[in-house]
Symmetry: C2
Subunit: 136 residues, 2 copies
DNA sequence: GTATGTGACGTTATCTCATTACAAGATTGC
DNA sequence: GCAATCTTGTAATGAGATAACGTCACATAC
């Protein structure tokens, strides 16, 4: 499976619109924020957003930030969905940094293995203040 | 700072009730589930639960599971609040396993350091199927 | 002892996040 | 054409969390 198999062409109209909103945004967006941004495009109900988001997450184009109940466009072309991704979330500016680290992923897999835990999905979210916001 | 400085004696009535509900439970509980369980004890509004939970989390007696919007009593006496804790959450039986791992914590701190990210809190949640549920 | 501050508590209302349920179009395969 | 499947639209509701009020108990300062 290649990276980001689903390109714009594969997306439905609603999925494209939601993807666009996320791509344009500097930081994560909540489903309802996306809804508001897309009202002019005919969006009227949360479900329209959630359905598109579900698919986009499934495709690996969008990630869900559990600790924020929000979503970000994947900025990290290398991730193929199976990857263990960590997010660094700045609590001041809201920017999100996406990182993958082999050592981290290996250790987690090992820990799961030792417990005979069949790992399906990992969530790693780091909260703090990013470099830029510290100097400011 | 010692482990779990706040013992039962330090807790208020509401905090004790909420803590009791979580301790009795085998798995994580949502705030509203706790509310329902404590109606007979005079609980009437979500805020009563949330206020108690806030304190219990602050004391390190309870952890919040971001990917579940739920709370668990800390089963891991060693954690002193500053610790990096990982949770293994079984999607079949709902049981939660709490683990700390030095290598994991170190790597995360290192990654944050390399990005000059001032780390405040880390969330690590592993979803999957636990050993017991796999055989069944 | 009164004033003042602080922290927990209770209640209502409201806000944000997410899903269920149902109907209508659109698309593909036969 | 017809069935199967997928996407869509809409309304209603469920679930999670907080804001804004006021009250009470208890501490400390004067």
């Amino acid at each position: 499976m290649n990276e980001h198999v689903h390109e714009t062409a594969d997306l439905t109209k609603n999925q494209t619109l939601v993807m666009g909103a996320l791509t344009r945004s500097k930081g994560p967006l909540s489903a309802y924020t996306i809804l508001d941004q897309l009202r002019d495009n005919g969006f009227r109900a949360p479900l329209q957003v959630y359905r598109a988001l579900d698919k986009l997450v499934e495709f690996g184009l969008v990630h869900r930030l559990e600790s924020l109940n929000a979503f970000v466009a994947c900025r990290h072309p290398g991730c193929d969905g199976d990857d263990t991704i960590a997010f660094m979330i700045c609590e001041r500016c809201g920017q999100v940094n996406e990182i993958t680290d082999t050592a981290l992923a290996m250790r987690l897999k090992q820990l799961a293995g030792e417990a005979s835990f069949a790992l399906k999905k990992t969530t790693i979210e780091l909260r703090g203040i990013c470099r830029t916001c510290q100097v400011a």
